[in-house]
């Protein structure tokens, strides 16, 4: 049963991250997603210090605010100080993440978080942290509910705002002329990325969230050119990596999150080599055929 809980939780988080990731990688904002997943840390610690619990609404809000602050700072340094984008991202997220780690070590006694958990989460403990209802009935692991709720919120967000997100991703100039606020939807997307990151934080940690945001969509992107299909394939990959990752972790007696990411990397590698539409091996074969055809003497 524990295995099912863990796999289910990680699949649900992986799907949430993957769906948002589809937009991120097409917007060329994968590194901003990376930055946000680091930058929410101080928000989590501060919310933790205020509320004293780990699973609270305040924590989600605190982290979402930090995520939006991070997006804002990157833009501010870029536009106002004319700092090149890559450096603006680098300076912003490393300083916020450093602040978070310092807060954790300063308040080590009061915060039930440690540096390792920050990095790679503790999804193995999911089945232990149960939600016991007031009548004393066991309702199953808490993280499962959190992950399901996160997914529902994300799906709702994407369904309701699909047209706007789609347009601002593929043709921001056109979106602006039809009266859609590009900046608003950008901040909304970044807000959801931060909230999802925080929700998934306990289970997979800050850096591995990035892998869930980027690896499944990138793999799907190699397999199709259709955006809706890309989102569907992403969901499929999210489930596959969760299942295979879990058993790999059991096999090697290592971190589950680390194993899930490793499998995601392997799947990407396979798609990169063998994808029917854009795999590099197939491309090479086609090129060769083409070359032979051209080289043939005219009859």
């Amino acid at each position: 049963m524990d295995a099912v809980y863990i796999i289910l939780t990680s699949s649900l988080f992986a799907i949430s991250c993957g769906l948002l990731g589809c937009f991120l990688i097409l917007r060329k904002m994968a590194m901003v997603g990376d930055a946000i997943s680091h930058a929410v840390l101080p928000g989590i610690v501060i919310a933790f210090l205020i509320t004293g619990t780990r699973d609270s609404f305040e924590m989600i809000i605190g982290a979402a605010l930090l995520g939006i602050l991070c997006t804002f700072l990157i833009e501010f340094f870029n536009k106002k100080a004319k700092l090149q984008t890559d450096a603006a991202i680098g300076v912003t997220f490393t300083s916020l993440f450093a602040l978070g780690v310092i807060l954790i070590s300063v308040f080590a006694g009061q915060v039930d978080l440690d540096q390792e958990c920050v990095l790679y989460g503790e999804i193995a403990y999911v089945p232990i942290d149960l939600w016991i209802s007031d009548s004393g009935q066991n309702m199953g692991p808490k993280a499962l509910y959190v992950s399901a709720l996160t997914l529902i919120v994300n799906i709702l967000f994407i369904r309701v705002g699909f047209k706007q997100l789609y347009l601002t991703t593929f043709d921001p100039a056109f979106a602006a002329t039809t009266g859609i606020s590009v900046a608003l939807w950008n901040y909304l997307l970044m807000g959801s990325v931060s909230m999802t990151t925080v929700a998934a934080f306990d289970s997979v940690g800050a850096i591995l969230v990035v892998a869930l945001l980027v690896a499944p969509p990138a793999t799907a992107y190699l397999l199709t050119d259709n955006f809706k299909k890309m989102m569907l394939i992403t969901c499929g990959i999210a489930i596959i990596i969760s299942i295979l990752g879990y058993y790999l972790a059991v096999l090697l007696d290592g971190s589950i999150a680390g194993a899930v990411v490793t499998v995601a990397g392997i799947l990407f590698g396979l798609a990169y080599l063998f994808s029917p539409s854009s795999g590099i091996l197939l491309k090479r074969i086609n090129q060769k055929k083409e070359a032979e055809k051209l080289a043939m003497p005219k009859v």
Binding site: I25, K28, M29, A30, M31, G33, D34, F77, K80, A81, K82, L83, Q84, D86, A87, I89, G90, V91, T94, S95, F97, A98, L99, V101, I102, S105, A108, Q115, E116, L119, Y120, I207, L208, V210, A211, L213, V214, A215, A218, Y221, L222, L248, A249, L252, D253, G254, S255, A257, G258, A259, V260, V261, T262, A264, G265, F268, Y272, S278, I280
Partner: protein, 428 residues
């Protein structure tokens, strides 16, 4: 305060070695980072930093010890592989660079974490302290390790010094460098190797997670203080060194604290302060400059419109009300009044019963702007063959920035013309 004195008196030889180590490591990565920053490859450093983790674990699994030379070799290997893969993905597939970086960084890190946890659970006693590579521990830098990492840091700095000219050239204009006969590919390769080495050594003090900051942040901060690459490299090294020193101090005062985050906090504070207060490029200096320029343009436009009004009535010194000016050309009322008062203070205008009029100096200045505007229009239509109905917009901006030298040259070139393309008189 007591520990502060104790630390900075450097009486304890172990303090000296930790300080020397931390400063060398951070300064050397700052030096290398300057060039990755200038090549706009800052985030690649982040990818390398995360990708060295599996290499370190691999070295440990293979050698069974925490021998620094093995670690450096392992880290160097996976760091390099990660860069090759990123490069391959970006050039050979439709995936963009940012996605490739984020993907490789997180996947390599994930593999590293899987290996690290596997080692930790294996019960090998020698593994304790392996996780200090995650967030760094400057205080752990003693004895043989210090010597090895110190040597690598010195090699880094010396190599950058030797190839300074080449590195500078490829950072700004690799095509030009190629034309000069510089082996661009090799220098690129050199810079990549230097980056990987800098990461490998820096993680001892800062840790893999935050290592990117040591490459990016000192360079970003230094960029705000100078336009000269040599000075920039020096400033970045000094700033990096200061943060390394403070990291060593923290490590000494609170041995349980990871040093990486503190070093990064210090260097970030330096950088963000630089973004704001640096002369010329800083946010404050920039906005002051912008303000000044806006004011100049407003003043000149206002004086110009007064001249236009004067032309109509053939009386340049006639008094005008605020409404009359706005009728001639729209200005926001509030800004207009502020500008009028400013020009009065400067002695270009006088006010009598609500009527504003030129002083002698004001007329000269207004007339000059009008003259420049019309000269430029004539120049554009005569020499650039632009239709007369298309020249106004351009003249509207250029009139504010023409220097007296250019003015004289225009007059000479156009032979002191009488009329502009719109048959309006050019005043001298």
């Amino acid at each position: 305060m007591e520990t502060f004195k104790e630390f900075f008196s450097f009486s304890d030889p172990s303090i000296v070695s930790v300080v020397v180590g931390a400063v060398l490591l951070t300064a050397s990565s700052a030096v290398v980072g300057t060039f990755t920053f200038l090549k706009k490859k800052a985030l690649v450093g982040d990818a390398v930093a995360h990708s060295v983790l599996p290499g370190i674990c691999l070295a440990f699994i293979l050698s069974g010890t925490k021998n620094p030379i093995w670690m450096i070799l392992g880290a160097f290997l996976t760091g390099w592989i990660s860069l090759l893969i990123i490069d391959h993905i970006t050039t050979k597939s439709k995936i963009k660079e940012d996605t490739a970086i984020a993907l490789i960084l997180s996947v390599f890190f994930g593999i590293g974490i899987l290996m690290l946890t596997n080692i930790q659970h294996s019960g090998n006693a020698a593994q304790t302290g392996l996780d200090s590579f995650l967030f760094g521990k400057a205080a752990a830098l003693v004895g043989k390790d210090l010597i090895v990492f110190g040597i690598v840091a010195v090699i880094l700095i010396v190599t950058v010094g030797l190839f300074f000219k080449e590195l500078k050239l490829i950072a700004f204009d690799s095509n030009y460098a190629r034309a000069l006969g510089i082996p661009v590919k090799w220098i690129d390769l050199l810079l990549t190797s230097l980056t990987v080495l800098a990461v490998v050594t820096g993680i001892q003090a800062v840790g893999v997670v935050l290592m990117a900051a040591m490459l990016i942040t000192p360079a970003a901060a230094a960029r705000f203080w100078t336009n000269d690459v040599f000075k920039m490299t020096l400033i970045a090294a000094v700033m990096g060194g200061i943060s390394g020193l403070s990291g060593a101090y923290v490590s000494y005062v609170a041995p349980a604290m990871p040093t990486g985050p503190w070093i990064v906090m210090i260097i970030s504070a330096i950088a963000i302060t630089s973004f704001f207060i640096a002369p010329k490029r800083g946010i404050f200096a920039r906005s002051i400059q912008q303000r000044r320029l806006q004011r100049l343009i407003m003043d000149e436009n206002l004086l110009k419109e007064l001249y236009h009004l004067g032309e109509k009535d053939e009386d340049p010194y006639k008094g005008r009300t605020v409404n009359e000016i706005i009728e001639e050309r729209f200005f926001p009322r509030k800004a207009l009044k502020v500008a009028l008062r400013r020009l009065k203070r400067q002695g270009f205008l006088v006010k009598k019963n609500g009527y504003w009029s030129y002083t002698e100096a004001g007329k000269v200045k207004g007339q000059r702007v009008v003259k420049l505007h019309r000269l430029w229009e004539l120049y554009l239509s005569k020499y650039m063959k632009i239709a007369p109905d298309h020249v106004h917009e351009d003249a509207e901006t250029v009139e504010h920035i023409i220097t007296p030298e250019l003015e004289a040259q225009l007059e000479r070139m156009l032979e002191y013309p009488e009329f502009d393309p719109h048959e309006e008189k050019i005043p001298y």
